[in-house]
């Protein structure tokens, strides 16, 4: 029923974000953008992007946010056995003819983009990355991105590191969108909306990684669906193209809560 693994290392990335390196019992294949459900027996189950997968080595980045992630931070250590379901959903699409791509990440939304950057590099596609954080205290993985990207630009909201401002401001100051075959983004939805809008206006191919409440994870309960096309984040996504996203009135606006009621995206 489950995919099993053992934690081989825990790295504290920031006071509230940790990298869990896991050794899986069996080899799996996954594409960047796909996600896993991590089950913590009798505590809960949460969706997580794959931050890297190489042979049986899996990286998961977990931010301390709610009940389950707090439990993980307090109890998971080297040797802890983990229970996973997946990989689920559809990942980013990369075309053979791409030569140069741009990654735009906000906070721990960078996880799937790191996995993507590594695969792009393996395919001989160069990429640049724009990484946005609240402050230098919450910054992580910049060196990892530098290892696989040509240029890495960092912004912080408070200016404690790199450019002072939003990661989307870097689109104006640091790069020329037209230079890229595709743009991939992951992070806060309003940030991604801005990226998608800018790319679409200039006819640049763009894909974004969406987050909604994931319950069944396999496309049957419908709670993660987006109106008006009825697309399910867990099955039709979590990666969607800009073309599709601009047809979704829920994108950048609404999500459904546990009851199935629509809530404003700002209430998340």
């Amino acid at each position: 029923m489950y995919l099993y693994g053992t934690i081989s290392d825990v790295v504290e990335l920031t006071p509230s974000v940790r990298l869990y390196e896991i050794k899986l019992y069996e080899r799996i294949s996954a594409s960047p953008g796909q996600f896993l459900m991590l089950w913590v027996p009798r505590i809960g189950e949460i969706p997580l992007s794959i931050a890297n997968l190489e042979d049986r080595g899996l990286w998961l980045i977990i931010a301390k946010k709610g009940r389950v992630t707090t439990f993980i931070h307090e109890n998971f250590d080297r040797g802890t056995r983990v229970f996973l379901r997946g990989p689920l959903g559809r990942g980013f699409s990369v075309k053979k003819e791409f030569r140069k791509c741009l990654l735009v990440a906000g906070g721990y939304g960078l996880a799937p983009l790191y996995f993507l950057a590594r695969q792009l590099k393996d395919c001989g596609i160069t990429c640049d990355a724009l990484l946005g954080f609240k402050s230098v205290r919450e910054m992580f993985f910049v060196d990892e991105f530098k290892g696989v990207c040509t240029n890495v630009y960092v912004s912080t909201d408070d200016g404690s590191y790199g450019f002072k401002g939003l990661v989307t401001d870097l689109l104006d100051t640091s790069v020329t969108l037209e230079a890229y075959d595709a743009v991939y983004t992951s992070g806060k939805e309003l940030m991604m909306l801005e990226v998608v809008n800018r790319c679409s206006r200039r006819g640049i191919r763009v894909e974004a990684s969406l987050e909604r409440l994931i319950k069944c994870g396999v496309g049957i309960c419908g709670l993660c669906s987006l109106d008006p096309l009825g697309l399910r984040v867990c099955k039709d996504g979590p990666i969607f193209t800009g073309e599709v996203l601009l047809k979704l009135r829920d994108f950048g606006r609404y999500w459904r809560d546990e009851h199935g009621r629509k809530k404003s995206i700002e209430e998340r």
Binding site: M1, Y2, Y4, M37, W39, P41, R42, G44, E45, I46, R81, F83, R85, I214, K215, C216, G217, V218, G219, I220, C221, G222, L223, S225, D227, P228, L229, G230, R232, K235, R256, E258, H259, G260, R261, K262
Partner: protein, 311 residues
């Protein structure tokens, strides 16, 4: 090649379906846009998720387990409550071109009545009473196992729905399904949906713990198909003219045909969506048409209950 002369239309308690393949309750039925996708995928009718009087949050994760031979779920009837449901489904501009069955659940006859009073004037085609969910405390099977209780609920609902079909969704795990079915019919039910998931548990042997947060869940998929076929067969044997929507492990045209032969007039699709996604509807329809053609039937209704014929 599809023979256009094969007629897939069926009459289900007075509602006309373009084909007998119905989206079962609890699957995708949270929004009009998802149901629209199911319509476009080929379904003959769709059923909403079970709606209750007050909003329900459902259970915490995990709510779903994929077993090789089936699926286990305990969603916990999450829904926004009837008032929100009516606003979202009927006050928007989206409309379906196929019949819409609204599934409702309550803890008492009074609660069922109150929900019905709020939905009976909405553009819907039939109501399904969830008297069989195996894992929601105070709901479903907990009110649907007792024939007298079933009788009272259906009677109250009938007061609201004077001219729309009422389907009662039954559980396979009651002492006598015939007694429950009989009580429902006496009170004015128009047909049956059989079966709901079967109460079950899955334990992970390495975690050494039950997987579902609710511990107990409902088993669906191939594992319960023979049970569902038995219930449909038994209901048809006892109430020949009462329409039945057969549900439980339908994941191919062959299983759909088996339900029709057992006596189901329509067939519900549920967790098969996990493996086949929405293509399942078209796959079944194409296979069903071919089967009817090869076996020499003009209409799908010709094979309903055929397995009961002596010669």
């Amino acid at each position: 090649m599809v023979n256009l002369s094969v007629n897939l239309e069926i009459n289900l308690a007075g509602i006309r379906l373009r084909n007998p393949i119905v989206l079962a309750s609890g699957i995708l039925g949270v929004s009009m846009s998802l149901l629209k996708r199911v319509e476009q995928a080929g379904a003959g009718a769709v059923t909403t998720k079970t709606i209750t009087l007050n909003p329900r949050q459902g259970y915490a994760n995990p709510v779903f387990v994929d077993l090789e031979y089936g699926f286990l779920n305990a969603m916990g009837l999450p829904n926004p409550g009837v008032d929100y449901f009516v606003r979202e489904f009927f006050e928007g501009c989206e409309r379906l071109n196929i019949p819409l069955i609204v599934s409702i659940g309550g803890g008492s006859a009074e609660e069922f009545y109150e929900i019905c009073a709020r939905i009976c004037k909405c553009p819907m085609d039939a109501v399904e009473l969830n008297l069989s969910c195996p894992h929601a405390k105070g709901y479903g099977l907990e009110v649907g196992a007792d024939p007298q209780h079933v009788y009272d609920i259906v009677r109250r609902v009938r007061k609201c729905f004077s001219n729309k079909p009422i389907f009662v969704k039954l559980s396979a795990t009651v002492p006598s399904i015939v007694e429950v079915a009989e009580a429902a019919l006496k009170a004015g039910a128009s047909g049956f949906v059989a079966i709901n998931t079967v109460r079950a548990i899955a334990i992970d042997i390495y975690a050494k713990k039950p997987i579902l947060s609710n511990v107990y869940g409902g088993l669906s998929g191939p594992a319960i198909k023979p049970i569902a076929v038995r219930v449909v067969y038994e209901l048809y044997e006892n109430f020949k003219n009462v329409p039945i929507i057969g549900v439980g492990g339908v994941d191919s045209w062959e299983t759909a045909v088996e339900f029709l032969l057992a006596g189901a007039r329509a067939v519900g699709i549920g967790s098969a969506v996990v493996r086949r996604d929405l293509e399942i509807f078209n796959e079944i329809l194409e296979g069903l048409k071919r089967y009817l053609e090869v076996e020499g039937y003009d209409r799908v209704s010709d094979i309903v209950g055929l397995a009961h014929e002596v010669v």
